[in-house]
């Protein structure tokens, strides 16, 4: 459990509160991935509140600051909305795998409903620094134009980042105050799902966060459009769930290779032992059979050798090129690693 201090509280739209926490001590700070969530609680009087989960809305911050946002609609969020600057809160996390993997995700489509925008805010805020070349499309469904958390900031981020596209879906027909926004009156429907699952969107990874009916219905609708289930990732605020496994990540492959490697080594050692020892045993047996004395015991002495591999050092010695300029590409063995040395 880590301790944080409320730095600020702010209303980002009617009924939606944004809380910013700073670490109480440097050791309380932690790194997180955009899209992850934390659980947090606080003291009401002398009694601790339950811990509840909320997505982080800020981009990872070098100072360790955390931001969450929530709609005020129950006893917990009503109490949380009354927290003031300087109040102490307890934080656990970060949790969740609702995160972009630059290795696997070549294009990202984010489907948000209402306050389900929160994990996506962290992603789009971090996008320019963290995923500079990754095309991201955000389809953001809201009931009313007067109640869209972060609308202005999303427009600003979209204008500043050529790889980010934001489309607002407003279901009650009201008009968005901000100009320059791409607005669709209605819900994210079949026609839009067709659009974002075809053409240049083929191969995209789909992240879904919003009301339960949305996180339950959309994955099936996407999979029905031949989207690989491993590329449909859902988050429903306080718990992570996935429509399918996201494929073989590095750790699993590492574990699998390690297991196969270990079994192979054990098999080889056992095989060699058998080859070495069986003839001796057979000979001993024959000797025992032909001898009247049978007191000797033959002890099998299997020795496993462990080989030590030397740690390799990536430091490249600096070669003096005498002012000549050469271009080496990524396939070249002359590529120098970045090493800071005394200048």
């Amino acid at each position: 459990m880590r301790e944080f201090i409320v730095e600020s509280t702010k209303n980002v739209s009617p009924g939606v509160v944004n809380l910013t926490f700073r670490p109480a001590r440097p050791s309380d700070a932690f790194d997180f991935e955009p899209g992850q969530y934390i659980s947090f609680g606080f003291k009401r009087g002398a009694r601790p509140s339950p811990m509840r989960c909320f997505s982080l809305v800020n981009a990872p911050d070098e100072r360790g600051y955390l931001q969450i946002a929530f709609r005020v609609e129950g006893p917990f969020t009503q109490s949380a909305a009354r927290l003031r600057r300087g109040d102490r809160v307890m934080v656990q996390g970060p949790f969740g795998e609702f995160t972009i993997s630059p290795r696997q995700d070549r294009r990202v489509v984010m489907l948000a409903g209402g306050i389900g925008i929160t994990p996506f805010m962290s992603m789009v805020r971090a996008a320019k620094d963290r995923y500079p070349m990754l095309p991201m499309t955000l389809l953001y469904g809201c009931r009313s134009a007067s109640d869209i958390p972060y609308a202005e900031e999303l427009l600003r981020l979209e204008n500043a980042d050529p790889n980010l596209q934001v489309i607002f879906f407003i279901s009650d027909g009201s008009r968005l105050r901000q100009s320059g926004a791409q607005v669709v009156h209605g819900r994210i429907d079949d026609a839009w799902l067709d659009k974002v699952s075809s053409g240049s969107f083929i191969g995209s990874t789909y992240f879904i966060c919003g009301p339960k009916r949305m996180t339950e219905a959309l994955p099936a609708q996407l999979i029905a459009r031949d989207i690989d289930p491993s590329r449909v990732v859902t988050e429903s605020f306080t718990q992570t769930s996935q429509a399918g496994q996201r494929g073989w990540g590095i750790p699993r492959i590492t574990y699998a290779l390690a297991a196969v490697g270990t079994l192979a080594v054990i098999g080889i050692i056992m095989g060699l032992d058998l080859v070495r020892q069986v003839p001796k045993l057979v000979a001993q047996q024959a000797k025992n059979n032909s001898s009247t004395s049978s007191n000797s015991n033959n002890t099998n002495d299997a020795t496993a050798n462990t080989s030590t591999s030397g740690a390799t050092d990536n430091t490249s010695s600096t070669s003096n090129t005498n002012s000549s300029t050469s271009t080496s590409d990524s396939s070249s063995s002359t590529y120098q690693q970045p090493v800071s040395s005394v200048s």
Binding site: A29, D31, P60, E62, P102, R103, A126, D129, R130, Y131, P132, M133, D313, N314, T315, S317, T318, S319, N320, T321, N322, S323, S324, T325, S326, T327, S328, D329, S330, S332, T334, Y335, Q336, Q337, P338, V339, S340, S341, V342, S343
Partner: protein, 309 residues
């Protein structure tokens, strides 16, 4: 994406430029522009060239000298960091440096005499407060001489990184001038850049720092193990303590600093070496240095910060 790299001898050391780009032609144009910026900088600010703008200002010490906007900007930056470090960084150490034994360029053939008009061994150490600016002219005290050795590479790395960022279309890069490094963005396959830290007295890597978030990150190392020698029977190195005017007496072999700006990494690393281990922690707090690594004579390696891999 492709990763392209060029190396060249510049500023008395090796320059390495590495770009991750979509098209090779973009990179080649950018490489040419970056090398040109470095060459212009060297011509303007080298203390080893008799016709550099720096040498002209030094030769005219005590009198106002009309300077270029680039010179003005670097000198103002130097003054600002001298103030910020409370004089631990001082741009007036050149006479003391030359008296200690660091007279000629390390890239000049051995035994070759320094260029005419570039020696100021009889000069004094002045305070940064004595630099006067008046429009496009600067005046430094008579019988003093400036040297941008403690700040120039870092300042230049920031200029180069600014020009890459302004162009856009580069997925990632790392640039090194004599071991001072600035990087941003990502390597191939969106991997973050890992910067190795070289042993003080060897070629091995003692630690790594990872640019996790792809933002601009600079790493500079400074120390007493290079650019050192024996002069008139006395050992010397190139880190001059402005408080004594002599090579710093320190228990730090090298200090490595990682901060977002290369100019700060360059200046602050030297200040930590001068400060010694005992005062390093307080100085790091004062200068807001989050990640630093000290290779010391008595206490091994001291690492501070959360960025180390």
């Amino acid at each position: 994406m492709k990763r392209l790299q060029q190396t060249k001898q510049v500023l008395g050391s090796e320059g390495v430029l590495t770009l991750v780009v979509r098209h090779e032609t973009q990179a080649l144009e950018l490489f040419a522009a970056l090398w040109q910026t470095i060459a212009d900088f060297e011509q303007r600010f080298s203390r080893f060239l008799s016709d550099s703008e720096l040498t002209k200002v030094n030769q005219n010490a005590g009198h106002p000298t009309e300077v270029s906007a680039e010179f003005l900007a670097l000198l103002q930056t130097a003054k600002m960091y001298a103030s910020k470090t409370d004089g631990l960084y001082n741009p007036f150490i050149l006479p003391a440096l030359q008296r200690s034994g660091y007279a000629g360029s390390w890239v000049a053939p051995k035994g070759e005499a320094p260029a005419k008009g570039t020696q100021f061994t009889g000069g004094n150490l002045a305070s940064y407060e004595d630099i006067l600016f008046d429009g496009s002219t600067v005046t430094i005290p008579a019988n003093t001489a400036l040297d941008f050795g403690g700040i120039g590479k870092g300042y230049l790395l920031d200029l180069l990184a600014d020009s890459i960022d302004a162009k856009g279309q580069v997925g990632g890069y790392w640039l090194s001038l004599g071991g001072d490094i600035v990087c941003a963005g990502y390597n191939l396959d969106n991997k973050p850049w890992d910067i190795g830290i070289q042993q003080a007295q060897g070629k091995n890597t003692v630690a790594r720092i990872r640019n996790k978030f792809g933002k601009r990150m600079a790493v500079a190392s400074s120390g007493t193990t290079k650019r050192q020698g024996v002069h008139e029977g006395k050992a010397w190195h190139h880190i001059i303590d402005p408080r004594t005017g002599a090579p710093a007496t320190t228990d730090i072999l090298t200090a490595t600093v990682s901060v977002p700006k290369a100019v700060e990494a360059d200046v602050f690393a030297k200040c930590l070496v001068i400060a010694t281990v005992a005062a390093s922690s307080k100085l790091a707090d004062t200068l807001h240095i989050r990640d630093y690594l000290l290779q010391t004579t008595q206490r091994g390696i001291i690492m501070q910060g959360r960025g180390w891999a």
